[in-house]
Amino acid sequence: MTDATPARGGKRPAKGLKDILNSESFRSAIYQIALGAAVVLLGLYLYQNVVENLQRQNIATGFGFLGEVSQFQIGERLIEYSPRDTYGRALIVGLLNTLTVSAAGIVVATVIGFSVGIARVSSNWLLQRIALGYVEIVRNIPVILQVIFWAAVIRNLPAPRNAVELFGLGFISNRGLAFAVPVADPAHLWMGLALLAGIVLTVIGTRLARRHREKTGRYVDMLWPGLGMIFGLPLLVWLLSGAPHVIDFPERQGFSFSGGATISPEFVALMLGISLYSSGFIAEIVRAGIQATPKGQVEAARSISLRPRFILRYVVLPQALRVIVPPLTSQYVSLSKNSSIAVVVGYPDLVNIGNTVMNQTGQAVEAIAVMMLVYLIISLVTSTLMNIYNRLVAIKER
């Protein structure tokens, strides 16, 4: 803690008892002991009350309930789950759903937020104003209202029988989104590995190119070789494995769809609501970041005829990212915390399932503690990563 207010008063050698009693350090020790004791006593008092109340109401304590059978079904899940599974597993299903919707929301919010943020600093006045209007609207309407609104919109879409078709690739209906996916093939795994290998090779290549440049002063362009490796290798693997191209199209069947992949209406509503809301904040963060680089620097870079790509890479981005990344991550964290309103549309996220567990077992303290702990861990991990990043990109004064 280095952020304390400057200490007051000079040091005087203590002489008698009166001097000690009146000295600043003695008094501050007394205040602190009193404060600490008050906090501890309050905690003990509350704890005792909780224990007594729970005993009186015959509610079990402890986390034993996590091992009990849950007896409720969950509509959406990434891992195997049935009502015969435990509360603990139900909560894990919820946690995975929270992470899924947050990740999807972060991607959508980032794409929209960056586009709108760039439009905010466009030299075209009209585009700038439209972007401003968008930002002011989405971030000043409560996120819950937006989620409820999208849920209502989806609920009022046509039924699967009259679903809106999307270029033959999928359907939008009140059952959510159904779309075509390639049929699983062993080649997909190898393609994924090839993509990973391409990325790793590009990173290594860029490092080598930089070392070469620093040693000899000659520049090796890694843009096209890099892109070639990242996209070419998976393509090569795909071709080598006989180009599997069976695609699973969704088809209307009664009141829903069969085949393809589907995204539930609850997921779409929640994801749209929280990501549009956050996109407004992200747009403003991006705008501030872009404006953080003084115009003169870009002009100076241009005057030494640096290529536009390098101006972006070595002049604008390093300064912009230093401004953008910290608030952007906190926006991501707040987006994932906003996903906790899933219960208003019935998406089974951690808080929604935690709520059900709480109502079934009556163990409110433990259920809420689990929810809080999970979010706390997410926040702490993010802020730790953020601090590491900050240390890496901080202006190095030599």
Binding site: T5, Y31, N124, N140, V344, V365, L376
Partner: protein, 363 residues
């Protein structure tokens, strides 16, 4: 977040004639011109469709939902028809005038207290006491022949207003204390504040509402009860305070060391220094961020839908269950969004005015 930074750079746009301005900002190259024309066409098309839907083809007044169904435009009649349950929630229908009067008193009080000419404790204290008493009497009833209405039946916009006011009135002092605690020379106070602030900022508001509703009663000794609405308000207020405390801490950090030393040199104690030297400057410095969080607090009151409090959003959602009018949800939600946008906009306009007054040295 909402405040745009004041720039002092020279703005060439400010003194340009319309012709050059248009050329510079809309038509300065072929690409720009094409972009402008395409954007303008799309915008006009959207605006035209919106006007057609919202104004020309809209149904403004009818009590028959079938008239609305026959129309191609918006059905604003749903708001005319349902405005009372939307605005006042579950409150007994015959007593709605009490809520209308309450809102008038509330708004008048707030407007008066935001006006710098009225910033005088001898005026504001009696004003707030009278306002609080009359609002309490109107809302609760039970005296002067008014029917008693328990807090569980309160709802709609008045509830949103009460939640918001409670959040700010309880939250701001707590925020100042937490911020001071985090910067206090006493390590224990610092530790307690840091843990409290960081723990609460790390969890979603909903979990705090769950604590207020489900866990807090367990903290109290048997037989003691705290009103549910009050618990929820305090929950939102403490959550608000943790964010606000970080903002105020930023303001405190911006105070130069010399201010503390100057205060110490004229022998002011900690509280005197804080009260007369530090806080007035710190709060002025971070005013834009403070108002942003206050506006956010207004939006956050809508989270109470999850624990079943009937604020304006919950009331509207409930009204929209009516099968006759259900299909006109867009209009109803637009109305609610408009209410939030209006109050948010009013607050931000006031905040900008306040910043101007501060810059001019008037307050």
């Amino acid at each position: 977040m909402a405040a745009t930074s004041r720039t002092t750079t020279y703005d060439p746009d400010a003194r340009m004639a319309p012709g050059p301005w248009l050329k510079r900002n809309l038509f300065n190259s072929v690409g720009q011109t094409a972009l402008t024309i395409v954007t303008a066409l799309i915008l006009l098309r959207c605006l035209w469709a919106l006007l057609g839907w919202g104004v020309f083809n809209a149904v403004w007044y009818t009590t028959d939902p079938d008239v609305c169904r026959a129309a191609t435009g918006a059905c604003w009649a749903v708001i005319v028809e349902k405005h009372r349950p939307m605005l006042f929630g579950l409150y007994p229908y015959d007593e709605h005038w009490r809520l209308a009067l309450m809102m008038a008193i509330y708004l008048a009080t707030v407007v008066l207290s935001l006006w710098p000419r009225c910033w005088n404790l001898r005026l504001l204290v009696p004003l707030w006491i009278v306002a609080a008493l009359s609002i309490g009497i109107l809302m609760f009833g039970g005296v002067f022949g008014l029917r008693f209405v328990p807090t569980a039946d309160w709802g709609g916009l008045p509830l949103t207003m009460l939640l918001f006011t409670g959040t700010v009135l309880i939250g701001m002092p707590v925020a100042v204390l937490l911020a001071l605690g985090r910067r206090a020379p006493l390590p224990v106070a610092r530790g307690v504040s840091v843990v409290f602030i960081e723990a609460l900022r790390g969890v979603p508001l909903i979990t705090i509402l769950f604590v207020a509703v489900n866990v807090f009663p367990l903290f109290l000794p048997a037989g003691m009860e705290v009103n549910r609405l009050l618990r929820i308000t305090v929950g939102i207020a403490i959550f608000f305070a943790c964010y606000q405390a970080e903002v105020i801490r930023g303001g405190l950090q911006a105070i130069p060391r010399g201010q503390y030393e100057a205060a110490a040199s004229i022998n002011l104690g900690y509280w005197q220094t804080t009260r007369h030297i530090i806080l007035p400057q710190a709060l002025r410095i971070c005013l834009p961020a403070i108002t942003n969080h206050i506006i956010a607090a207004m939006k956050n009151t809508s989270f109470v839908i999850i624990i079943g409090l009937f604020d304006i959003l919950t009331a509207t959602t409930a009204v929209m269950q009516d099968p006759l009018w259900r299909s006109f949800y867009v209009e109803a939600y637009l109305f609610v969004a408009g209410v939030y946008l209006f109050f948010g906009y009013a607050l931000s306009v006031y905040a900008r005015q306040l910043e101007k007054w501060i810059a001019e040295g008037r307050i």
